[in-house]
């Protein structure tokens, strides 16, 4: 059975909510029903058939041929199966996903992987602000799974992260891992100002000195070389990084001392 493919007809004139187009929700639907699903968020909104040409039938492997910055909530609540988007996406891609995998071949908007608890979300291009983070009013950020941004992530990647692995390979904006509760954020390409602001626990691994550290982080000589090399090996084994991020010499900063202070920023010394 060939993959269920949504081929984009033209750039949509409004933002779309793609959350209905996941395997669990399409499994029992006939094609003509799928075409009627409402996607638009304006008052005269579009349905699937207005935006996409459908082909294929295997709902466990969904493909979007063509993307748009107006594709919101792609792969939301995904629990199994795969989704590949050959293009860009908008906000909240993989929102609260718990399993399966999503590949975005272009760039993503804000809140990619928001509140995800499992599965794998990989973005080949850039990601917007609040990657993995909670929406307004929520307290829980990413709580599991693997989130990879091959390009650059905006501000506050990993906001309120609790568990899981977030890897950003094209550098992060400001306040990476803000309010982190636990978990690991690995950054290649450096970070902007004050990573780890308000972090309680958890680890930020970064290949060079961030633009600015908060004064509430303090350098600490003792660092766990076993953890660093394990982390490096894991990133390579997962196909996330080609070479060790930290290497042998690491500087370690503990914080955020404004709060609990049990988090750490590990910086590869050769890049500093």
């Amino acid at each position: 059975m060939s993959r269920l493919t949504f081929t984009l007809l033209s750039e949509p004139p409004e933002r779309l909510d793609l959350s209905p187009l996941v395997p669990a929700r399409l499994a029992s639907m006939a094609m003509h029903e799928v075409e009627k699903i409402r996607l638009g968020v304006s008052k005269h909104s579009l349905a699937v058939g207005d935006v996409f040409r459908l082909s294929g039938a295997d709902v466990s492997a969904i493909v979007f041929e063509g993307g748009s910055r107006r594709f919101d909530c792609a792969g939301a609540l995904l629990d199994s199966g795969t989704i590949r988007i050959a293009g860009d996406v908008g906000a909240q891609t993989g929102r609260r996903m718990s399993g399966g995998s999503i590949l975005v071949e272009g760039s993503a908007g804000p809140h990619a992987g928001s509140g995800m608890s499992g599965g794998r979300l990989e973005i080949l291009g850039d990601a917007g602000d609040f990657t993995g983070g909670p929406l307004a009013g929520e307290l829980a950020g990413m709580s599991g799974g693997t989130l990879i941004v091959r390009g650059r992530a905006g501000d506050r990647a990993g906001d309120r992260m609790r568990r899981g692995l977030l890897a950003v390979l094209g550098g992060c904006g400001d306040y990476a891992a803000s309010r982190m509760i636990a978990g690991t954020l690995a950054i290649v390409g450096g970070s902007g100002r004050m990573p780890g602001y308000l972090m309680r626990r958890g680890s930020i691994l970064v290949d060079r000195m961030p633009q600015m550290l908060s004064p509430s982080f303090v350098e600490s000589g003792a660092w766990d070389s076993v953890f660093a090399s394990l982390a490096d090996r894991h990133l390579i084994a997962e196909g996330i990084a080609q070479e060790p991020l930290l290497g042998r010499t690491v500087r370690r900063y503990c914080g955020d001392n404004a709060v609990l202070g049990k988090g750490e920023i590990l910086v590869a010394a050769q890049g500093s």
């Binding site: 304006s42 929406l135 602001y197 004064p215 509430s216 350098e219």
Partner: protein
């Protein structure tokens, strides 16, 4: 004031209202910017519901103040209690210009409910506060931390006061420490106009730390009184603050998606209704503009311009008063024939196609 404008042509207000109703009913993605009084906001939200519009205020600072409540909560104090009780006042970040008067008032008075009838001032900001100079010459002690910005300084200050290590000292932090040791009631003054989300959260955390042993609270001074008033109205009418949309029927709150400025910039909007005595921002993109504003001439590039008065000046109004921290009835100070926003919007509502 029987005059309005359709494009640059004079038109009777009645005619302009009818035209506006037609445009709003036909719009695929209408948005409304609200910068007006309580009853104007009530009417604007009723219109948004009717036509399936997103609505917003034009103040980023108000969005940050909203997030303080929606995302975290915290401990807050009324301005009256600050005046009567606060013996230590810490200003963190810039405050909105209009609050200068209140800060001066605090400088000229002493607490009468607690403390020893004196008030000391600290400031975590580089710019002057109220009547005070920016250096340490006046009665204000300035707190600063080398090599970082305001957000970093607040973090360093909180860590220092909690007895944890910091990498760069906060100048005068010990003076604050000492003052806090004797304080009966500490008030932090801050605003979304002067602090980012994380710094606002850090100040809340700092106050929470202090409350373990003593009393401290935060006076959050809204970036815009009208903006915060609209937040209150929106919250009781829809259950949600601004940056909410009715486009799918029920109200949905999403401070990113329904940010009207962003929506216009990214070409998602076909019609923008501006409601505010102040001028609308310069037209941006392809969307049409309907301007309800205090003007004697058509707004550049607006499809329709309808004049409205300034609440509390041209007409009686209910407004949020940051000075009292609640809503207040303000009779017109210079009554004119300029109508209230609510009057014009209700008139548009009456002219909407009932099937809309």
């Amino acid at each position: 004031m029987a005059v309005a404008w359709i494009g640059n042509r004079d038109a009777p207000v009645q005619h302009a209202v009818e035209q506006a109703a037609e445009l709003l009913a036909a719009s695929r993605c209408p948005v409304i910017s609200i910068d007006t009084d309580i009853h104007g906001t009530r009417a604007a939200i009723a219109l948004a519901e009717r036509i399936g519009a997103a609505y917003d205020h034009p103040f980023e600072g108000v969005a940050r103040e909203t997030a303080t409540f929606t995302d975290r909560g915290g401990i807050f104090v009324s301005p009256g209690e600050v005046r009567r009780r606060a013996d230590v006042v810490v200003v963190v970040g810039d405050l909105p210009a209009y609050s200068r008067e209140f800060v001066s008032e605090l400088a000229e008075t002493v607490p009468d409910l607690a403390g020893d009838n004196s008030r000391s001032f600290f400031s975590v900001t580089g710019t002057p506060i109220g009547p005070f100079p920016a250096d340490n010459q006046g009665p204000v002690t300035h707190l600063s931390c080398k090599g970082t910005d305001l957000t970093g300084t607040v973090a360093a200050l909180r860590a220092h006061l909690a007895g944890r290590r910091i990498s760069s000292p906060v100048e005068n932090a010990d003076r604050l420490s000492k003052a806090l040791g004797h304080a009966r009631f500490t008030a932090f003054l801050c605003s979304g106009a002067g602090l980012d989300d994380l710094a606002l959260e850090m100040v809340q955390g700092l106050a929470a730390d202090l409350n373990k042993k003593a009393r401290a609270s935060i006076l959050l001074i809204p970036t815009s009184e009208a903006g915060w008033g609209s937040v209150l109205v929106s919250t009781w009418t829809t259950g949600l603050p601004l940056r909410t949309s009715f486009s799918r029927g029920a109200p949905e709150f999403d401070p990113w998606r329904w940010n009207v400025g962003r929506m216009i910039e990214e070409g998602e909007v076909d019609l923008h209704l501006w409601i505010g005595a102040g001028s609308p921002p310069a037209k941006n993109g392809d969307s049409k503009l309907i301007a309800l504003t205090k003007t004697g001439q058509p707004v550049a590039d607006a499809a329709i311009t309808i004049p409205i008065g300034e609440p509390g000046a041209d007409h009686d109004a209910v407004l949020l008063s940051a000075r009292t921290g609640t809503l207040a009835a303000r009779p017109a100070s210079e009554p004119s024939r300029m109508p209230a926003a609510a009057t014009v919007i209700n008139s548009i509502l009456e002219h909407l196609d009932p099937t809309c």
